[in-house]
Amino acid sequence: MIEIVFTDVSMAFGAHQLWQHLDADISGGVTAVTGANGAGKSTFLRLAARMLRPSAGEVVTKRDGQRLTAAEYSQLWGLDAPECQCYPELTAAENVRFAGSMRGLVLGTGRIEECLQRVGLPRAAIRDERYYVRSFSTGMRQRLKLALLLAVDPAVWLLDEPGANLDASGRAMVLDIARTAARQGRIVLLATNEAKEAEAADELINLDRF
């Protein structure tokens, strides 16, 4: 079992203090991370990915009670964030295959197409070998990032506003995928401004309170 433990964590960028004395123990289910714009939701996710170090306190990741090194943990999480882009010179399938290979997975065409269909990409974007991501709409790119996570299926899903740029059915699909992953024992951290998404979560961390 994977655990992410925040102990007395404070975070500041220069003189700008985001939060202080935050404690959290995340070990499963969907955890919504909410807060006003600039509250530090994306920062919280990066701390959970151990891409950043806190200004004070400690973020520890464990597997079955044993602390993980940053290198070990790096193979266990996947991130979908607005500033994270898929390769525009590759097709959707090539992007999924690449993400899988980075985790040592050889994904077959069937599995790749299944993931791309699950996120609702149109048939041409899935099958056409000359339909590169640079021609995708913003919403399609957003869906593709989720397909990467589906294909890799990491133990920790870090979703930073995954519903942004998606229509209502797209947002429902994101929630459904997040809940399914959580049911399968994954940790899902969902940074969101959407009340509906926050309500659907098992746990809530409101950064405005710290």
């Binding site: 990915a49 994270c84 882009q85 390769y87 290979s101």
Partner: protein, 223 residues
Amino acid sequence: MNSSIWIAFKGMLRKELCVGFRSRTRWVVMFMFAVTMLACVSLAVGGMGLPVSVQAALLWILIFFAALTGTGQTFTDEAQQGTFLLLRSYGQAQTVLFGKMVFMFLELLLLTLVIVPLACVFLNIDIAQPLPLVAVLLLGLAGIAGAGTLVAFLTLSAKVRNGLFFILMLPLLLPVFLTAIAVTTAALEGRFAAVSWLFGLALYDALLIAGSSVLFDYVWYEA
């Protein structure tokens, strides 16, 4: 080799090749830089018969600077496109390093295959001993790729990225540069350079690549 690392390395290299062949922007910059510089030198020299040591030095200056215009961009391009976070999210340090390093080596090899024949024409270079020249070119390019990948990553978040990249690369590659010029001079003159020069260069390359590998793990995960 662990099979998952091998799969990841192949995936990384395939991605680099696909992106490189389909975008080609970096290649255009490198090739245009090399051709422009070659034309300038050729015009400046104006048909003068240059000493062989100067020809060898000019050839390596051309390769070195043309290579640096491209190699410095390997992580910058990813950061500018927003794909760096994707790479950081899914990639393992060593596979990213070696995938990019091998691709950079292939890219530089392609560049050299264009530069050397052109330099022979424009600078009236006669190659008396091709085999030592090929060996020193391969070893020299391996050194540039080995150091270039690490330094490109180290300078990624620097504000004066380009300047810093050149400043850091120059001392790292000076031993490669000086050895390569000495061996190339010998190859152009028709003398066999001491094999120890080539062994020394291979050893230095190995140290550069091993050092890059050790440091890259730290900067990728911990920095």
